[in-house]
């Protein structure tokens, strides 16, 4: 088909399309609605997923290595022996971590149970004793600081950094003092030097940072290291877990999936829901067009017969009818993308009062170009498919049978 006959067929197709404005508009609204919903849902759901991923995984280790695999045993021992279990074979573990290309960074931890005592409140909890230089490589805490300073405040003695929800419960602000008692009965007066938020209560409710050295002297256990926190380059590749368990005895290794099962499952459910609902909507829009084009083809049987007698070929007839749904599809998809953007924007600035699980001011929404391209692509693809079969049926019309009926 050359350019000139494309122009002719386009002219004929457009003439039909504009002759039934109401139907065309309705079909276009179907595509528009499908693509809009597709984009809004994908933007919103992936926004939530990415937000949760960022909050949870940016603030948590991918792999945690601790002394005993059997937690019950540790609990039993605690009554008799207030000393914390150290990680044995630390050199061996570090060698394995250093050798693995998938390990981005790791950080040695002294984690101890503790009781926090502020002026008004007493709360049990735990403190992560860390080396600021190491921990910095795991998390970008500075990005998460709400008030005060982050790890760099540990260059001064007696500083402690808290999650925002915990600080609220203790009713302390940066600069306030906070007394800590650890299981062996030792206690120390700290100063709150910074408050942070990862945006998720499972972290902001409990996490507390202090320098490892300070905790060691409180615990009276020199050189103590209770845990190793590891960040991976590719979170989904957790081979290192097996390697560690096989080669080092008397350790427990947990990966991010063990600790965040509900979130991982939630993300999956949201993904499946988003994509299936979006495609179902596009399918419905496609059916609308299929119906309209089928009816049109039946109504225009005589026109098709006439066009064929005056020299239009089967390919011309397919083009004339297919181009109608294509135009409906293109306009509907483009408008749908625009509406999708507008609605996504409105959602992204809607204030959100969520305090139980996540801590955000507005709904998290993604604005990735690829989703618009996908929405437009599938929107148009659906209409082309929906239009193709009626158009082919039209081109198969035998003019003799129809003219005979005239």
């Amino acid at each position: 088909m050359n350019i000139k006959s494309i122009k002719t067929n386009l002219f004929i197709g457009l003439q039909y399309l504009t002759a039934r404005k109401k139907q065309s508009l309705l079909a276009m609204l179907g595509v528009l609605f499908g693509v809009t919903t597709f984009i809004v849902m994908v933007n919103f759901m992936t926004g939530v997923n990415d937000f949760l991923d960022a909050a949870v995984f940016e603030g948590s280790p991918d792999i945690t290595i601790s002394p005993q695999p059997d937690l019950n045993k540790v609990m039993d021992d605690l009554d008799l022996d207030l000393m914390l279990n150290p990680l044995y074979d630390l050199d061996k573990i570090e060698d394995i971590l250093e050798a693995s290309p998938n390990v981005r960074a790791y950080s040695k931890q002294v984690i101890t149970p503790a009781i926090f005592i502020s002026q008004h409140v007493q709360l049990p909890g735990a403190i992560n004793g860390i080396e600021a230089d190491e921990e910095k490589k795991l998390y970008d805490l500075d990005k998460r600081i709400l008030s005060g300073r982050g790890f760099e405040s540990f260059s001064e003695e007696g500083n402690i950094v808290l999650g925002t929800s915990l600080a609220k419960k203790l009713m302390v602000k940066t600069g306030d003092s906070l007394r800590i008692i650890i299981p062996n009965g030792n206690e120390k007066q700290f100063r709150v030097s910074g408050i942070f938020s990862f945006g998720i209560t499972t972290i902001d409710n409990v996490r507390t940072y202090a320098p490892a050295e300070t905790l060691r002297s409180l615990l009276e256990q020199e050189e103590l290291i209770t845990n190793l926190h590891v960040k991976l380059r590719d979170r989904n590749n957790i081979e290192i877990k097996e390697t560690l368990l096989n080669r080092v005895s008397k350790i427990g290794v947990e990966d991010w999936k063990d600790n965040n099962r509900t979130i991982v499952a939630g993300n999956k459910v949201r993904d499946v829901l988003t994509w299936s609902v979006s495609f179902a909507l596009l399918l419905v829009a496609g059916f609308g067009i299929y119906n309209i084009m089928n009816i049109t083809v039946v109504q225009k049987r005589k026109d098709i017969a006439v066009l064929k007698t005056i020299g239009y070929k089967n390919t011309d007839i397919v083009f004339i009818f297919l181009v109608q749904s294509l135009i409906i599809g293109i306009i509907g998809a483009l408008l749908g993308a625009a509406f999708g953007y507008a609605i996504s924007y409105l959602i992204s600035v809607t204030p959100l009062q969520a305090k139980d699980f996540i801590i955000v001011d507005t709904y998290p929404v993604n604005f990735k170009g690829i989703y618009y391209i996908l929405g437009i692509f599938f929107g148009i693809l659906t209409t082309v498919f929906a239009g193709y079969f009626p158009s082919r049926k039209a081109s198969k019309t035998d003019p003799v049978n129809i003219i005979r009926d005239i």
């Binding site: 002219f11 026109d303 005056i310 020299g311």
Partner: protein
């Protein structure tokens, strides 16, 4: 008459239908049209006139015998070839003026020309305008076709059949739905077309007047043509 070349030649033309039972509707027909000749086919209802015309216009390719139009063997040609062939060589006029309602008068006439596409749109529009003026339709160019009278619609259909200057026009009872006055006018139009444009016209009709005033008249009786 004998000097003129034939635009259409059919030999031993036959057609059978298989539904409801196998039967011949046309049998062993010879049919010839010379260039610029007006040929009429007269016959009772159901005698096979339309069936013959569908074959002659290359729409029905399932026939027996031989058909030559403009020197081209029609049998065995592809649908795609026949589409182009019809577009260039044959104009068709139906009993009911078959115009497309979504298009105005001028656009309806332009449809075959836009398909042929050998001239610019402006040139084609000018040609269609001239043609419609000749047919007395100059003040209805941008009218929606469904607002025209029966006679006017048939004139637009004739203009559409003529726009690509085909050598042959096939008309199936073109006056069948018209009153006496309009019938006479349309027939005169066909006579004029033959004379001034050297276009051959084959008309199937019930009308004695057409039968008696043609260059050549066939009578169709039960699927057999007689001169």
């Amino acid at each position: 008459m004998t000097a003129a070349a034939h635009i259409l030649k059919a030999n031993a033309l036959g057609k059978q239908f298989y539904e409801p039972e196998r039967h011949y509707v046309l049998q062993n027909n010879t049919f010839e049209v010379a260039e610029g000749e007006l040929v009429s086919i007269y016959g009772k209802s159901g005698s096979g006139k339309s069936t013959l015309l569908y074959i002659l216009s290359t729409l029905d390719t399932d026939f027996e015998g031989e058909l030559l139009i403009n020197g081209t063997q029609i049998k065995g040609q592809s649908q795609s070839f026949l589409s182009e062939f019809r577009n260039r060589n044959i104009g068709f006029v139906y009993q009911s003026h078959y115009l497309l309602n979504e298009f105005n008068v001028l656009q309806n006439v332009l449809l075959p020309a836009l398909k042929l596409n050998t001239h610019s749109r402006a040139e084609l529009t000018e040609k269609a305008r001239t043609l419609l003026t000749e047919l007395g339709m100059e003040d209805r160019l941008s009218y929606p076709v469904y607002k025209l009278s029966g006679g006017q619609q048939q004139r637009v259909a004739i203009a559409r059949a003529l726009i690509n200057d085909p050598g042959l026009i096939i008309a199936d009872e073109p006056t069948g739905n018209l009153d006496r006055k309009n019938s006479e006018m349309i027939f005169e139009l066909f006579q004029n077309i033959c004379k001034t444009r050297n276009t051959a016209v084959a008309i199937a009709t019930h009308d004695d007047k057409i039968y008696n005033n043609s260059n050549k008249s066939y009578e169709m009786i039960d699927g057999s043509l007689r001169l």
